[in-house]
Amino acid sequence: MGKRVGLEVTVAVAEAVALCRIDMAGVYPITPQSHIAEHLSTLVADGKLDAEFVTVESEHSAMSAVIGSSGAGARSYTATSSQGLMLMHELLPIASAMRLPITMAIANRAVSGPLNILNDHSDIMPQRDAGWIVVFAENGQEAIDLSIQAFKIAEHKDVMLPVSVNIDGFQLTHMVEPVEMPTQEEVDQFLPPFVPHATLHPARPVTMGAFAMSDYFTEIMKAKDEAVKNSKKVILEVWDEWEKMFDRSYKPVETYQADDADVLLLTMGSMGETAQLAIDELRAKGVKAGLVKLRLWRPFPFAEIKAVVKNAKKLIVTDRAVSFGGPGGPVFSEIKSALYAETQRPTIYNYIYGLGGRDVTVHDFVGMFEKIIADTGNVAADTYVFWGVRE
C-alpha cells in the first residue's frame, strides 16, 4: 500500500509520472503548470528519475519533441496550460493521427485575452476535436491516479492514442492535499513497459507522418474516430483493474444523490466537490437535488450520460468556457445533442460560470438550483446564461 502524504498536487503529479518510469519529458514552463516541469527536472537532476528532460524553447517544440521521442519508442510526457496548449494546438491532431501514446497534464487556465492566469476550461475546449483521450480530475488523488492510468490507456495496443489529464489550475494544481502515493512496486505491477508497434530506429526503418490526399484522408479520419471510440473499452478495463488494485473507483460519469433527483447539476473537473456540498445543503432542506460529474470528455460517454439523467425533470449543465455566439457552453451543447433523440429526457439549462478564476461557492450552486427549480419558463432553457455576471 502506498503512503499517505501531503503534497502540492503538481508535485504529486510529477512524482506519479516519475513512478511511471518515463524515458523523456519535454516541458515548457507556464503558470499554473510550471511546478510539474520544475519537480520533474529536480527528480532527474537528483538521479531519482532516469529520463531525458528536454528544456524546449516553447510549447510548440515541447509537443514536437514528445512526438519525436514517442515515435522513437520512448515513454514521453509533457504538461502545459492555456497559451501553451493553444501554441501546441497545431500538433495535437498530428500526434493522434500518428497514434503516439503521449501523455500530457493540462493545468487548466483561461485563455487570453485579456491575459489571465486563473482557472477555467477555455484552454482544453478548443482542443476537443484533436483526437485525444481527455479526462478530468476532481481532486489531487484523482490527478495522481489518472496520470498513472493515462500511460496504460494510451499505450494499450488497442488504443495507441495520446491522453490529456485535465487538472484545474490553482484550484487543484496548487492545493496541498493528503494523497495516497502508490509505491514503485505497485506502479511497476500495474503499468507494463511500453512496447511500441513501430519505432524510428534503423533496425526496422519506417516512414512516419506521410502525406495523404483525398484518396486516403477520409479513411484515415474514420480510423482515428474508431480508435477514439474503441478506447473506451480499454479505459473501463484499466479503471476496473485500478479499482481492484487500489480500491479507488473511476467511472466515465460519476453521480452523487442522482438516483431519485428531480433536478440534476452537471460539472466537470474540480467543481464537483463544491457542488456536492450544495447537494447536501439542498437535500437537508428536502430538495431532491443530485449531481452528475463528467470525468471522461473524449470519448464522450453517451450511454452513461443518458442513463443517469433520464429520470430527472431538469438538468443544469455548467460550463467553464464560452462558445461565442454559439449554441451554449461546449459541455451543454454536447449533452443536449446527446439527449436529442431521447423520448424521456430532462429540460436542459446552461450556466456559464467560474471564468478566469471567478470564485464559485456552495452558495452559487444552491442559487442555480433555486433559480431553475422556480423556473416556469423565464430562464431560457434553450440558451445559456452567464452566472453571476455584472451587467
Partner: protein
C-alpha cells in the same frame, strides 16, 4: 586531376552505392534539392533517423501509401523539424542508456527548406542548437517557399522575383538581402557549420561525414537549385550551382569551433554575377545598375568571408 570532371571514374569508389532515398519520388526534373538529399543520405548511411519539415522534399518523398525513404523518417509539421529531431535524439538516448534498444550509434538529422529553417522554423532550430542535441540540421535552401508556389522567404536573394515579392512596374522583386543563416548558426557556437552544394558532391559528402563524426550539434546550409522556382532550364541545375559558387554568390566554407576555412573548390578569381543571373527568369527584370549594386554586395560579403578565413583559420594561424 579534377575529380568532378572525371566523376564517373571516381564516383563508385568515393560514394556509397546504396540508395537510401529511392527513385520514384515526385520531385521535378532537374531538381538539385532532391539530388542533395540523396547525396546526404549516401553520406549518412543506414544508422540515421531523419526528421523532415513540411516542404518540397517531404511532399515529393512521402505520398501515402508510398515512401521513398529507406532510413527511418518522420514528418510532423512545417516549423518544427529541429524540435522533432530533438525529441528523437533524446528518446533514442534514453532508450539506449536503459538498454531498451540496440546499443548502436544512430545519428539524428533534421532537415528543412529555407522557409522551414530561416523563417517559421527559426526558433525551433535555435533552441535545438542551443541545447546542444547530438544532431545534424541541414537546410536545403532553394531560396523561396517552392512547395507552396514560389513565395519569398528570408533566404530569397535581393532582386529575385517571387510570387509574393514579384517584379512589377515599381518593384524589382525581393527588397531585402538574404539572411546570413550560416553566420547565425556560427553565433550559436555549434562545433561545426558548413555551406555546401550538390554541384560539388564530394565536398558536400565530406561535410556531411564531418558533421556526422561530431558528437553534438552541427549545421549544414545546402544551396539547392530549383529550376521550377528560378525559371531556369532544368538541365542546368548542376552547372547553375557551380556558377553560384564561382561567382561568390554562395561561397563554400566551413567553420569548425569558430575557425573558418574556405573550400578548396572556391576559385582564385570570382566570375561576375551576371553570368549566374543570365539564364534565370527570376532575375530577368533586373537593370544593369541593379545588378551592379548586387555585385558590390556579393564582392564585399565575399571579402569579409575571406578575411575571416584568413584571420580565424584552423591550425598554425
Amino acid at each position: 586531376m579534377n575529380i568532378v570532371e572525371n566523376f564517373d571514374l571516381y564516383a563508385p569508389r568515393l560514394i556509397n552505392k546504396k540508395e537510401l532515398l529511392s527513385s520514384g519520388h515526385r520531385a521535378c526534373s532537374g531538381c538539385a534539392e532532391v539530388l542533395a538529399v540523396r547525396l546526404m543520405c549516401k553520406a549518412l548511411g543506414e544508422n540515421t533517423v531523419i526528421a523532415s519539415a513540411t516542404g518540397c522534399m517531404e511532399i515529393v518523398s512521402s505520398m501515402f501509401p508510398t515512401t521513398a525513404w529507406e532510413v527511418p523518417w518522420i514528418h510532423v509539421a512545417f516549423e518544427n523539424a529541429a524540435a522533432v529531431a530533438s525529441g528523437v535524439e533524446a528518446g533514442l538516448k534514453a532508450l539506449r542508456r536503459k538498454g531498451k534498444i540496440d546499443d548502436r550509434y544512430v545519428k539524428v538529422v533534421g532537415m528543412a527548406g529555407d522557409g522551414g529553417t530561416m523563417d517559421i522554423g527559426f526558433q525551433a532550430l535555435s533552441g535545438a542548437m542551443e541545447r546542444g542535441h547530438d544532431m545534424i540540421f541541414v537546410c536545403f535552401d532553394n531560396e523561396a517557399y517552392m512547395n507552396t508556389g514560389i513565395q519569398r522567404s528570408s533566404g530569397t536573394p535581393m532582386g529575385a522575383s517571387t510570387t509574393t515579392a514579384p517584379a512589377g512596374k515599381v518593384s524589382s522583386g525581393q527588397k531585402t538581402w538574404k539572411k546570413n543563416m550560416p553566420e547565425i548558426m556560427v553565433a550559436h557556437n555549434v562545433p561545426y557549420v558548413a555551406t555546401a552544394c550538390p554541384s560539388y558532391p564530394l565536398d558536400f559528402i565530406r561535410k556531411i561525414e564531418k558533421a556526422k563524426s561530431i558528437k553534438g550539434p552541427s549545421y549544414i546550409h545546402c544551396f539547392s537549385v530549383c529550376p521550377t522556382g528560378w525559371r531556369s532550364p532544368s538541365h542546368t541545375a548542376v552547372s547553375m550551382g557551380r556558377l553560384a559558387v564561382e561567382t561568390g554568390v554562395f561561397p563554400l566554407f566551413e567553420v569548425e569551433n569558430g575557425h573558418y576555412r574556405l573550400s578548396p573548390d572556391m576559385p582564385k578569381q570570382l566570375k561576375p554575377i551576371k553570368d549566374y543571373f543570365k539564364s534565370q527568369g527570376r532575375f530577368r527584370h533586373l537593370t544593369a545598375d541593379e545588378i551592379e549594386s548586387i555585385q558590390e554586395k556579393v564582392t564585399s560579403e565575399y571579402r569579409k568571408l575571406t578575411e575571416k578565413a584568413r584571420f580565424l583559420k584552423t591550425g598554425n594561424a
